[in-house]
């Protein structure tokens, strides 16, 4: 156990600083990677980092952990929000208790946090995925989206943007259904089956979530649709390697979630030691990633999404 209470008071200090990492849920490889990135940063910064989280990715199950952080008076909370508003009050209370709040991966309304570490702009993510699927299905045909839970903030934002861009830029591609696999392997897998069944002319599935895209790829790779229905989206190389190698998946996108966690931890540390306050224009160093500038609304941008395909997937291990 880390030493004594009052961590909030000596917020500027070195070794006593505790940071709590609260992903959407535990047991999710994406967040596992982001947490290990944060741990790397914590090691460099001398922070004590503790990961807690619920089993299921719902806002109500995140609240008790935010409360606990407030009780403990941790220096900073790094959270991926399951709902943009629902956890707001709890975050407010934590901030009232002196805790700095960094959101990463999935944001809350800006008023509830100090900094949002954004993996990529939503526009960038949406257009990258559409680019990939359009290429893979030859520019026309039916596609479906397999999302996480129906309430996932970032997924919904991306889907909205994708729908808009489809209407304006891809007139020959028709989005026939949006299904929700709840970031659960079994549900996503079964939903993929249902999608393919319900839409015999389906040509592609876009799944903007790592659990979903892996499940969809696994289903397709073992079915008669392999090679006929394209699967792409946001995935981690380790989960997707097999399907890229067997030809089910040509290419998919993602940022490096490890880097995301790493940057979030640096941002938290910068907030705690007062280097930044979350005001636009402030800058801070983030170790091996270099210098970052706080943008509008306290957003810090990691970079552009990265496309993985057979040529480069061998270079990554996360």
């Amino acid at each position: 156990l880390t030493a004594c209470g009052g961590a909030a008071d000596d917020a500027g200090g070195g070794d006593g600083v505790t940071v709590t990492m609260l992903p959407k849920n535990l047991g999710n490889p994406y967040f596992e990677t982001s947490t290990s990135g944060a741990e790397e940063a914590a090691g460099e910064l001398g922070l004590a980092l503790e990961e807690v989280g619920p089993e299921t990715s719902t806002p109500d199950s995140q609240v008790p952990f935010i409360n606990t952080s407030a009780q403990q008076g941790v220096a900073a909370l790094v959270v991926s929000a399951n709902d943009p508003r629902a956890i707001g009050d709890a975050l407010d209370e934590a901030r009232a208790a002196g805790t700095k709040v960094v959101t990463f991966d999935s944001d809350t309304d800006p008023e509830f946090r100090d900094i949002f570490v954004n993996q990529a702009t939503a526009e960038g993510i949406a257009s990258k995925q559409l680019e990939l699927i359009s290429e893979q299905i030859g520019g026309s045909g039916e596609i479906a989206i397999l999302s996480a839970s129906a309430n996932a903030t970032n997924q919904n934002a991306w889907i909205e943007l994708m729908e808009a861009q489809l209407a304006s830029d891809y007139p020959d591609i028709e989005l026939v259904e949006i299904a929700y696999g709840d970031d659960d392997d079994q549900a996503s897998f079964d939903k993929t089956a249902a999608l393919l069944q319900a839409h015999p002319d389906l040509k592609g599935i876009v799944s903007p979530t790592t659990v979903g895209v892996a499940a969809a790829a696994r289903y397709v790779s073992t079915s008669e649709f392999k090679g006929k229905v394209a699967v792409t989206g946001l995935g981690t190389p380790n989960q997707m390697r097999e399907y890229v190698e067997d030809g089910t998946v040509t290419a998919f996108a993602l940022w490096n979630p490890g880097d995301l966690g790493y940057l979030a931890a640096y941002a938290a540390s910068a907030l705690v030691d007062g280097t930044i306050t979350g005001a636009p224009g402030e800058t801070f160093e983030a170790g091996r990633l270099g210098e970052f500038t706080v943008g509008e609304d306290g957003v810090v941008l990691l970079g552009d999404p990265f496309v993985f395909d057979a040529s480069n997937i061998g270079d990554f291990d996360f």
Binding site: L1, T58, N67, A86
Partner: protein
């Protein structure tokens, strides 16, 4: 004329040697240990969060206690919480003033109770099977009605009221509601003819019916109460977490039942007390809070609750078995008292 004393044993024995007293004692021990050894547990926020956390569980546990005392069970409560949460959100979204939305949700909850009650009491179907069915049905309606959306734009003053503390104390304002609800149920169950009938039904439904107890109506009332209170818990849940969602409070029923059984209510019906259940709910709340502060994740908390639950029902059996064993088994060849008169 024989005069029969009212009580067979002194008051202290009757008060201290109960199942409820054991739960309360255990709660005191757990609380003390947590205060002494868990970092941050003695802080001012602990009480606040503890009460906020247990509110929905305790609210739902009260009517559940009465239902379990009759020997039945209501597994659909968490789905009613979810459904009423969704309806509350939808009504708010449709521009209905919030007090009216609360009323709407409450009525819907009561209707859910009517469905359960009619099926169980008037059609005589097993409550376990019925409420597994309505668990799925009500949850399905909740998830179906709100679809992909979540209603989160509740006025800040309402969401904050659900969390605000009573001026200067660590007690959140909802404490008042809780105390009132506990008092109402304690009196209803332990201090009215209705409550006595509820206990009689749990001990012997047939004898209760033969005594002119309206067993069906009583059961219906209890299920409606359960639905109504669950709906209130749903409204509270929505405001506390600031979001109306179809999946709100999923799995709450198991926590509630665990708490009720921990509190000494017999799953066979016929015995239990409100104060025991309050202690049972607090026990789970304190354990979760302390373990979370220790950085123990949900996992271990689940194990602890599960094991505690099994122990709480097994231990009385073991004690009884040991007690029954104490007067040594009779020798198999003792002498007869009277000599037979075979002629």
């Amino acid at each position: 004329m024989t005069t029969v004393p009212a009580h067979g044993s002194p008051l202290w024995r009757r008060a201290l040697l109960t199942r409820e007293a054991a739960t309360i004692a255990l709660l005191v021990v757990v609380w003390s240990v947590a205060t002494a050894s868990v970092r941050g547990f003695d802080g001012p926020l602990t009480i606040t969060y503890l009460i906020l956390d247990i509110t929905p569980v305790l609210l739902v546990a009260l009517p559940m206690t009465a239902i379990v005392v009759t020997g039945e069970i209501d597994l659909s409560v968490a789905s009613v919480v979810g459904l009423s949460s969704v309806l509350f959100g939808l009504l708010h979204q449709a521009g209905v003033p919030l007090p009216a939305a609360v009323a709407g949700a409450a009525v819907a909850g009561a209707l859910c109770g009517v469905v359960n009650g009619v099926l169980v009491a008037y059609l005589g179907l097993p409550s376990l099977a019925v409420t597994i069915g309505t668990l799925a049905l009500f949850r399905g309606l909740a998830v179906g009605l709100l679809g992909t959306a979540a209603v989160t734009d509740f006025p800040r003053n309402w969401t904050q009221a659900a969390r605000a503390t009573l001026g200067g104390t660590p007690f959140p304002s909802v404490t008042v509601l809780l105390v009132a609800a506990v008092a109402v149920f304690a009196v209803l169950l332990h201090g009215t003819a209705f409550g006595r009938n509820v206990f009689d039904m749990g001990r012997s439904k047939e004898a209760a019916r033969f005594s002119g107890v309206a067993t069906r109506r009583t059961l219906l009332v209890l299920f409606v109460l359960s639905g109504f209170v669950s709906a209130l818990a749903g409204v509270y849940y929505t405001l506390r977490y600031g979001s109306a969602r179809g999946d709100n409070a999923t799995g709450l029923e198991l926590q509630v039942i665990a708490a009720v059984l921990l509190g000494g209510v017999s799953i066979f019906g016929g015995r239990g007390a409100v104060h025991g259940v309050v202690a049972g709910v607090l026990m789970i709340g304190v354990l979760s809070s302390a373990l979370r502060l220790e950085g123990v994740t949900v996992n271990l908390i689940n194990i602890v609750i599960g094991v505690l639950l099994v122990l709480s029902v097994v231990s009385p059996r073991v004690v009884a078995a040991i007690r029954a064993r104490r007067p040594a088994r009779p020798p198999s060849t003792s002498l007869p008292a009277a000599s037979p008169s075979v002629q």
